[in-house]
Symmetry: D2
Subunit: 365 residues, 4 copies
């Protein structure tokens, strides 16, 4: 008789989640297994009656046949469903409880024999802990930012970089016609992959990463050197986690600046600092959630589909505590513990960063 397995998606949105779900369902159903779609990350396991908007449900191939093209996740997701620190509001207070035993119990009551957990760094850590408690889990790495180690790429990243590149293309037109300095803030709190990739692809002139603290002087110099050559416009890509080298940032300033620094992001802060130093209009665009939505690119659909299929094979092989990973051109498996032991950051001395410098990208060094 076939197995019963569960599949769930955790953490922030990422194009390609539905491709993974589809791959899992197709591969499992072909083996005669049943697949429970668990709603809103572990929420559906914490409370079997949980419902928002659908609740847990058994998935057929027909249910997932046409979801490949859609952003988001048909299972819903949540950032607040760590079963070891489950958040509830009691008497207006936010309370964190360890409900992992209840999750283990519900998992057994559902008759599940394995769980595919699709998620990022946080979800993989939770998966590891549930695994340690005896739940047979395989992981599927999901991160827009590409900050998980042990895999060449994760799905969603390509779509996000494409969205950022499309935005830079649009801003180039206006920057050139109107002699402007355009700042684009993209995602990446700790890892600057989206910024780096979209800066190269968009032909940006400056790119600021969390991994390379920046100084204002080389940025100003790059913009002014362009202006002197008859190009009074520049594109600056800023990762949300980009920050100046210690001591660089103007700490003194009016109270209003203080509020602004707190309320606003890396790009708006930089804009406020650059504007007075340049004789040019500086405009800021924050891409934000646009990078997490949209129909996935073909690359992310293929990678997601392959991840889903391979996750089912890992269950068949009994490789619990492992996650799928891309080691081009194969999908391999790696221990979840290895993947979460260190983040995947941009190496400032890597060949890729050197190629970016060669293509005229200034990193504010």
């Amino acid at each position: 008789m076939g197995k019963r397995i569960g599949v769930m998606t955790g953490g922030g949105d990422c194009p390609g989640l539905n491709a993974v779900i589809r791959g899992v369902v197709f591969a499992a159903r072909a083996r005669g297994w049943e697949v429970l779609g668990v709603e809103d990350a572990t929420s559906g396991l914490v409370d079997l009656e949980y419902r928002s908007p659908h609740g847990n449900r058994w998935l057929t191939c027909d249910d997932v046949e046409r979801i490949l093209t859609r952003g988001g996740t048909i299972l819903g997701s949540s950032n607040k469903s760590d079963p070891f620190k489950f958040v509830t509001i009691r008497d207006g207070e936010r309370v964190e409880t360890d409900v992992s035993d209840r999750v283990m119990e519900n998992f057994r009551r559902l008759g599940l024999e394995a769980l595919v957990s699709i998620g990022g760094d946080g979800s993989m850590r939770i998966a590891q802990r549930l695994c340690d408690k005896g739940m047979p889990i395989v992981g599927v790495p999901k991160t827009i930012d590409q900050d998980l180690a042990c895999t060449d790429y994760t799905f969603g990243h390509h779509t996000a970089v494409q969205t950022a590149t499309d935005a830079i293309d649009k801003l180039q037109d206006t920057a050139e016609s109107h002699d402007r300095v355009m700042l684009v803030e993209v995602m990446g709190r700790d890892a600057g992959w989206i910024a780096l990739h979209s800066a190269i692809a968009g032909g940006a002139h400056v790119c600021l990463l969390p991994e390379i603290p920046y100084r204002l002087e080389p940025i100003v110099r790059r913009v002014q050197e362009r202006q002197a050559r008859g190009y009074p416009f520049s594109i600056i890509v800023v990762a949300e986690g980009a920050r100046p080298v210690a001591g660089e940032q103007s700490t003194a300033g009016p109270r209003e600046l203080g509020a602004m620094v707190k309320l606003q992001g890396a790009a708006q802060r930089l804009a406020a600092e650059l504007q007075p130093r340049l004789g040019l209009d500086v405009r800021t665009t924050v891409l934000g959630h646009l990078q997490r939505g949209g129909s996935p690119t073909q690359f992310d659909r293929i990678l997601g589909s392959r991840f889903g299929v391979r996750a089912v094979e890992l269950i068949e092989e009994g490789r619990f505590g492992h996650m799928v990973a891309l080691k081009t051109p194969e999908i391999v498996s790696v221990p979840i513990a290895d993947a979460v032991s260190r983040p995947n950051l941009v190496d400032p001395e890597s060949q890729l960063v050197k190629a970016a410098r060669a293509c005229g990208v200034e990193f504010g060094e």
Copy 2:
């Protein structure tokens, strides 16, 4: 012998400007006329040596053959080149001078017999005044916001609405998967056309326009009514000029809020007000300059091309002081004075707004 005419683009960026320039050049060259591309709005007429990055230049069909697909304007533009209040920086001070006589003089020195001025409300007013001084000008209306009267559509608006609609499509995915309220701020300080059109096209649940001051209560009700029906997500489109009805906005508040209100836009302000009233994540995206760039849609390329061709015909017919306009399906001409006498605003009782209401769009009334 052929005429000598000039063409220039003024004001903010707008997809389709190059289509107009191309239409003007093709139509004029076919008549054996010469066409001077004037650089950076009137800058190129204020100072014949002006150069950024190109300077004035005579345009051939080959120069414009392949520009139809490109955003921006090959002639450059400027918001600071009103010849009646020309801005210069003298001793660190911003000084405004009337240089219109010099512009008239330069126009004659160049041997020009007519000028095509492509621009928005401001540019059309300047065109009218130069016309009154004796310069033979025909206008081509350009406004992302669609706020110029006397024409069914202006080029650029369709592209901007498409960009906004694409963004809403992306945000819908994430909103639905993650139970979020997504605010999208689009352009439109006085006229809410981009917000209205993209809200209908994107299937938004709330749309806030400059023309319809909003109250929070119906917005909260709409979101909560959806939540109660099992749809814990909503999309709210906010024009940058949207504002609450008098007395609605929380005036009291911490100093930080005061700064925020000043520094931030309509959507972020609304988010700060909505968040505490809803039990849901509220996220804001400000589209900003993305709406002004990008390759124009087919509609804007066709409209721009037709406007350009018709502008040359107006010169031939001697209809100076007129601008081209779309009276579907024909391109007609209207006195510039009429077009700038009143803005084209959204009528809250129009058939279009009623259709939006019928499709479930709440205007916060």
Copy 3:
């Protein structure tokens, strides 16, 4: 008590059909009416048990909330369901029967008080005949080709032209880099609107329409004149219904050519004729069904939504036998009989065609 109405979609695919259905359902449900979605055009009325893949079903706002972005029609469609000549296969033979009485009877059995018929020329003629038999019908015009009279635009056309323009943009790159003549065949058997609009928007050099029979000589001249000026590439847009002037086409020729003429379309035929006359590579692309699919543009979503809402108002006003139409900027109603009395063809002497000529488009005249 509320009315019961039906809605159905007929004829070929067209982006925006779902927007109309959504508009009908939202507007009707707001009035407390019930809306039956009729499956596969009149098939669902001919046979109440008909099912492919869904069968008739009552539609709620939730059913249509998220369909705005999707191409196709959730109700299915069919080209073979004319109730006056209903096609069935009996003993391997194709038999046509008049089942209109059964359709009338089924309409009554379902308790329907009105029907919204969304379709093209053919569907509107059927609607008129059912109306004449006493069925209270309002029409919504649907045609990719824009060949229905009495309305400024129909939904779907803008999306089709955008798809064709995107294709031309791609072909321009290769044509220019590889010195090629690229033929693009677009839809339009009798009306050349898609060809005309996409030729202007794509900056094509030649455009061949059903309304303007072409001669080879001016086409060859245009291509060679470009080559002589240093542009050894050209883009030729061909409507599927384009044809040479009488006597122009090579009638003599090998048998193979005879077969080819029959099997292949307008563009491939033209390519075979042009290739030997030019010293250049000639390549053909037939866009075909790509023009009928895809997410509708914002324009088509808005127009579709408004048509749907207005159709419900026509029912309320009792204006049966009428169809909605766009008379910019209003949605009006016109008698179906007027709309189908003559096709909407391109007028070779119209301002639009003249503007195309002015922009360098050769029509082979």
Copy 4:
């Protein structure tokens, strides 16, 4: 003093060619080298006066600054410029001559010290032979089809697959709404990578590759099994080099079919065979040159840029007779001889093909 190098592009069009050129120019100019852009593959070396439309020219960073977004190649290309079999037309006859000595001589006269040859299989073979004659060449692999060995990916392939996937997405809408079998023919004469990748990404039901000869029976079964389950539509992706197993194809048939088989491609042939066996409408779309044009995806822009930069490093390192290649995540170098010794074909037993089968793709086996 700096080196003088040349760069040229050969073979069919491929999105990302301009990114490579840009990378070469940026990296070379940063070293103080001069870069000659050679026009239309080796044409510019065969005849130093060659001109179509530009002729050879020295390239600056400004020349290539904004070309990243553009399809095609600013240097032009040609399929007819093999210097060992150079094609000319003499007295109406096509004559092939070995002009390689002249090419060597011109290379020296231009003072070039190295050449970057960007091209496919054919161009790499020519590069190898010129290398053998003493020309210092480094190669950059270019192939839409991904049929060159020794590199994980080549630029252009991702864009082509995205174009094919977008097309399949559009056809899915119509197929579903109108109960149709849609055949899409994509590029790939010997290698089925585009078909395989786009079939997975587009959620196709059948995929036919040159590497897996197909039988009709499993295709018919797959379509009918879907129909029986209530899904009377299917998407079939066909590589242009797909062919039936020996003996499968109907050889007998009317003369017209004979002509058709010769004139038409793999998809139209299959359609003619499938139509009578299925009770469904079968429609064919041939994507053709659409796959070679368009703005490159971010992936192809990055890969192209890195290839260009690395090619300059290979020159610096004196690694002539080598070509750049992607060994994820690094750009490495491999002997050209190795890369052209065998094609990169789809392995029917690879993990990727198995994943496709698991996702419901039938290969007609």
